[in-house]
């Protein structure tokens, strides 16, 4: 019986284990140095904020693993003997495998800032980061101010976390506007405004120069590169993106670049060794996706796919249309298909935008300016149906079609005020068309 060993019990590794178990009775061992049981990393913020306890972040009860005959091993893998199929652990124990799935995830980026390893400097990625934050920023008395470096999704979440305990936050963002490498200006500006409304001291277009320590080796202040301004603080959050967590592989025979190099079957250069999730790097990017995708659901999909291959149904990793979601403080964000920012958008991409006159709601629909083909949508403060957009993207519908049937896609709770009519009206004015909105139809929503 094959022994499948999975390094990492995040969403990618655990999904792989579950699907292998569904399809086979192979021996499965999941190795983790972070926590014995799988938990949802994305929910760590809610533990600090008091919405959940850590237990709530665990999607499966503790008995689940034994019942499904999935072995859990706690330990830190220090290197992989790929030739002899042996894992070596920090406590000098070993584990042999027949097939290995590496799903070791990411770690926060550090760009060699002076003082980046001081006490009170942390990322917001691992369970241990949460424990550190609880230690250094338990309340606004212990932590007079926190500085967050890096304006991405984790940065804004960390800011929200700290604000939930009334800790003053300064938020350093390299870009001229929040996340505007990804978001169109309209949306990026709306988020800037929203961040400030939450009493977060947002500093745009600035970089961190150094972190200064006090006598005990703890964070005392930071200095801004551009202005030389010194900001007193007790905690520094480094949230300038993540990198594959693969230091322990560097010495092995497994080929790595920024991540572990894999082909479309998620195979590394060594037979019987696979890599999935955040740590995997595609030789060739798939569609407009990045080679390394540190996204929750891609980890899950790679886990689903590799399980097929391991269970003798060799399957190519084929992510469908791009989608994603996030929440910026109180504003929910969903995206389906590709919408690029003004900075990065390809030549053929045009945008149609609508913004609510008062509330924090807006949408951007991208389309091909020649063919009018619908390319993608960003929605803020309005929920949309994944299934419907997935279908429209596959069918290469036009932007006019999308607007005409937009009511089918709405996913807001019942009794919410709908904005399709206003959106449609704006479109008709801008494009000099006379399209009228169709009523929502269950038949269309459910048609395949």
């Amino acid at each position: 019986m094959d022994h499948i060993v999975i390094i990492g019990n995040g969403i990618a590794g655990v999904t792989a284990a579950r699907h292998i178990r569904k399809k086979s009775n192979k021996k499965i061992t999941i190795v983790s140095a972070e926590n014995k049981y799988f938990f949802s990393r994305t929910a760590l913020m809610y533990v600090y904020m008091g919405h959940l306890t850590f237990k709530h972040t665990q999607p499966y009860e503790d008995w689940f693993w034994k019942k499904n005959n999935i072995e859990l091993k706690e330990g830190l893998v220090t290197d992989i003997d790929a030739k002899n199929k042996i894992l070596n652990f920090a406590n000098s124990s070993t584990l042999t495998f027949d097939k290995l799935i590496i799903a070791s995830g990411s770690k926060p980026n550090k760009f060699g800032w002076p003082g980046q390893n001081l006490d009170g400097v942390m990322g917001m990625y691992h369970k241990q980061d949460l424990e550190k934050l609880e230690k250094y920023a338990p309340n606004s008395k212990e932590c007079k101010r926190a500085v967050i470096v890096g304006g991405g999704l984790i940065g804004i979440e960390l800011a929200e976390m700290l604000r939930s305990r009334n800790i003053p936050v300064t938020f350093l963002v390299r870009e001229q506007s929040f996340w505007n490498g990804v978001l169109p200006d309209q949306e990026s500006e709306m988020i800037n405004k929203h961040i400030k409304e939450h009493h977060i001291d947002l500093r745009l277009g600035v970089n961190l120069k150094e972190i200064k320590s006090d006598k005990r080796g703890q964070v005392a202040s930071i200095i801004i590169e551009e202005t030389g301004e010194e900001i007193q603080c007790n905690v520094v959050g480094l949230t300038a993106g993540v990198t594959p967590n693969i230091d322990f592989i560097k010495e092995s025979l497994i080929e790595t670049g920024r991540g572990i190099k894999v082909n479309r079957f998620l195979e590394t250069n060594i037979e019987d060794i696979y890599a999935i999730g955040d740590c995997a790097e595609q030789h060739q990017a798939i569609g407009q996706r990045r080679n390394i995708e540190a996204v929750w659901y891609t980890g899950r999909m790679m886990g689903e796919t590799v399980a097929q291959t391991i269970c003798d149904n060799k399957t190519e990793y084929k992510p469908g249309h791009w989608f994603n979601s996030a929440k910026f403080l109180d504003i929910e964000y969903q995206t389906y298909g590709w919408v690029f920012s003004e900075r990065n958008k390809p030549k053929n991409e045009e945008h149609f935008q609508w913004k609510h006159p008062k509330e924090a709601k807006c949408i951007t629909i991208s389309y091909d300016k020649d063919s009018q083909q619908f390319l993608g949508i960003n929605t803020f403060g309005i929920r949309m149906r994944h299934e419907v957009f997935d279908k429209w993207l596959s069918a290469k519908k036009s932007i006019e079609f999308v607007l005409e049937y937009l009511a089918d896609a709405n996913f807001d709770p019942e009794f919410y005020k709908l904005h399709e009519a206003a959106i449609m009206a704006k479109f008709n004015t801008e494009f000099d068309t006379n399209i009228s909105l169709r009523k929502k139809s269950w038949t269309r929503i459910f048609s395949k």
């Binding site: 904020m49 959940l52 999607p59 992510p319 929440k327 969903q334």
Partner: protein
């Protein structure tokens, strides 16, 4: 703003202290007239009357002393009668902890109370209920500013002792349980609070207030104050606002005002929205007889009650799910969604509790149906309800044990008292027979579901944590499956707290409602076996 909130909390607290304190400060003086009326109705034993005449009439006593003396005299009287050669059973006073105080002592205590509250009913109302309602309203209204911008504000819930089974939670638990025990079994100690609502009772239905009027009023008041909290906390969410407003309306209008008005017009007290088998006494002989004796209105009530259970409830559940009742109409649900909302995260989501839940709630439904079948059998066979029919048990015995075990202990003491420990909806989840009945319809024949939005779930667990019914919503959402569960009451909070817009309560075609999938939307791996399965 924080100061204003604290002022509100202090006012509310003072109201509560006076309310609770009044229980221990009652004064009673039984006049000869009151005593005679009472003994004429309640007592046959001349031994008791003689002894009681000496010991309690025209004597100023606290409620506790009065109750204690009556019990002692009754014991002595029973002893006396039992020592006789020929025992006069009709002179024995039944002594049971859960009945004597309520049925025997309370009427006298109510009629003989002479303390300060009785002389200042209006003022007493304002310094108890008035202060508590005003203070609570102020405290919750300040949340409009204190909570910040509209959005999900669950900060600190698991760090606060009131909402995480801490000291304040335990205190609330003891208070709730204590209140229900006193209300159901020892209303003789609640005479002062009952007096506080006397003017209101008189102006509504024209009668002196009873413990049930007090309860009805408190229910409405508590729901109203906590509805303000809901309106502010979920002010960005029209589903929550509308649902809270409607359930509050049904409670105040249908469970409180309309029944009182009916009484004022000499009609039976009747709650038109209270469907059998939640309303377990609907088919009891006394109720049927009472309705039959009440003319056209009574007949209408009888027909309506039967239609409600047999036609309206299942049809509505088919179209909208059981939420139309549980979260929009029902009084138990209304209290759970207002007073109980701060405790929703405490419900257990374990598989074990789901198993227990199914046994218990369906057990109660079985109990209710058996009891009703037996009751109707005795009714139509014209057997008196107290006559033993099998195993030395009468229909009345079964009715009264259901009333005690389920009606009082389960739905009241445990159902509401345990909010701060087991989460709100303890009764609705584990006990309500109507919920069990509607659950079958919802699970097997309904258009209602919670739709999962493709592959957007990130397994964060907010939905499961805030599900008051203990449904592990995430277990479905992270598999891309719709949630179709008999216990779902459609409160809509899972959808509200989801940070990624994954969940939507909706009514749609039955086909495709249950959509178990192996691979979630977004992963285009092309597997014939999966296609074939669908």
């Amino acid at each position: 703003m924080k100061t204003i909130k604290n002022i509100g909390l202090i006012l509310c607290f003072i109201g509560f202290v006076i309310f609770t304190g009044s229980i221990f400060t009652g004064k009673n003086k039984v006049s000869q007239e009151t005593f005679d009326t009472w003994t004429k109705q309640k007592v046959k034993s001349e031994f008791f009357i003689e002894k009681a005449q000496k010991e309690i009439v025209d004597t100023e006593l606290s409620a506790f002393e009065l109750s204690h003396r009556i019990t002692e005299i009754a014991k002595a009287s029973n002893k006396y009668h039992k020592s006789r050669k020929k025992i006069a059973w009709n002179k024995i006073i039944p002594l049971k902890w859960n009945k004597t105080s309520k049925d025997f002592i309370y009427p006298l205590a109510r009629a003989s109370a002479t303390g300060w509250p009785q002389q200042n009913e209006g003022l007493f109302f304002w310094i108890t209920f008035g202060l508590a309602i005003l203070g609570g309203t102020i405290a919750f209204a300040t949340d409009y500013k204190l909570l910040g911008k509209a959005g999900i504000k669950n900060n600190g819930i698991f760090q606060h002792s009131a909402t995480n089974r801490g000291h304040l939670g335990i205190l609330a638990f003891l208070f709730f349980v204590g209140f229900y025990v006193v209300l159901y079994f020892f209303p003789n100690y609640l005479v002062n609070p009952i007096t506080a609502v006397n003017p209101l009772s008189k102006s509504l239905g024209g009668n002196e207030s009873s413990q049930w009027f007090l309860y009805g009023f408190m229910y409405c008041a508590v729901m109203s104050v906590f509805a303000i909290r809901m309106f502010i906390k979920y002010r960005h969410n029209n589903y929550q606002i509308l649902r809270t407003a409607v359930v509050l309306f049904f409670q105040i209008a249908f469970a409180f005002i309309i029944p009182e008005i009916l009484v004022a017009f000499n009609q039976p007290w009747f709650d038109f929205k209270n469907a059998f088998p939640l309303n377990y006494s609907f088919f009891f002989d006394w109720n049927i007889n009472n309705l039959l004796a009440s003319g056209n209105m009574g007949i209408f009530m009888l027909v309506w009650g039967i239609l409600l259970t047999l036609v309206i409830v299942p049809v509505m559940v088919y179209f909208y799910g059981k939420r139309w009742y549980c979260s929009w109409v029902c009084g138990c649900g209304g209290l759970a969604e207002t007073l109980g909302d701060p405790y929703r995260q405490l419900s257990s989501k374990s598989l074990l509790s789901w198993k227990v839940e199914r046994w218990v709630i369906h057990g109660v439904l079985g109990f209710a149906i058996l009891m009703t079948a037996l009751t109707l059998y005795t009714y139509f066979a014209e057997i008196e309800s107290w006559r033993k029919i099998a195993f030395g048990i009468s229909a009345y015995d079964i009715q009264s044990s259901y009333g005690f075990l389920i009606g009082s202990i389960f739905s009241g003491v445990i159902g509401t008292g345990f909010y701060p420990i087991l989460g709100n909806r303890v009764w609705c989840r584990f006990g309500c027979p109507l919920a069990a009945y509607m659950g079958f319809v919802q699970r097997f024949k309904s258009r209602f579901r919670i739709t999962t939005n493709g592959g957007q779930c990130i397994s964060c667990g907010n939905c499961s944590t805030y599900c008051e019914q203990g449904i592990d919503v995430r277990a479905y959402a992270q598999k891309g499956e719709n949630i179709v569960r008999s216990s779902c009451v459609g409160c809509g909070i899972c959808s509200a707290v989801c940070p990624r817009g994954v969940l939507k309560l909706e009514n749609g075609p039955e086909q495709g409602r249950i959509n178990s999938t192996d691979i979630l939307l977004g992963n285009d791996i092309d597997l014939m076996q999966y296609v074939n399965k669908k």
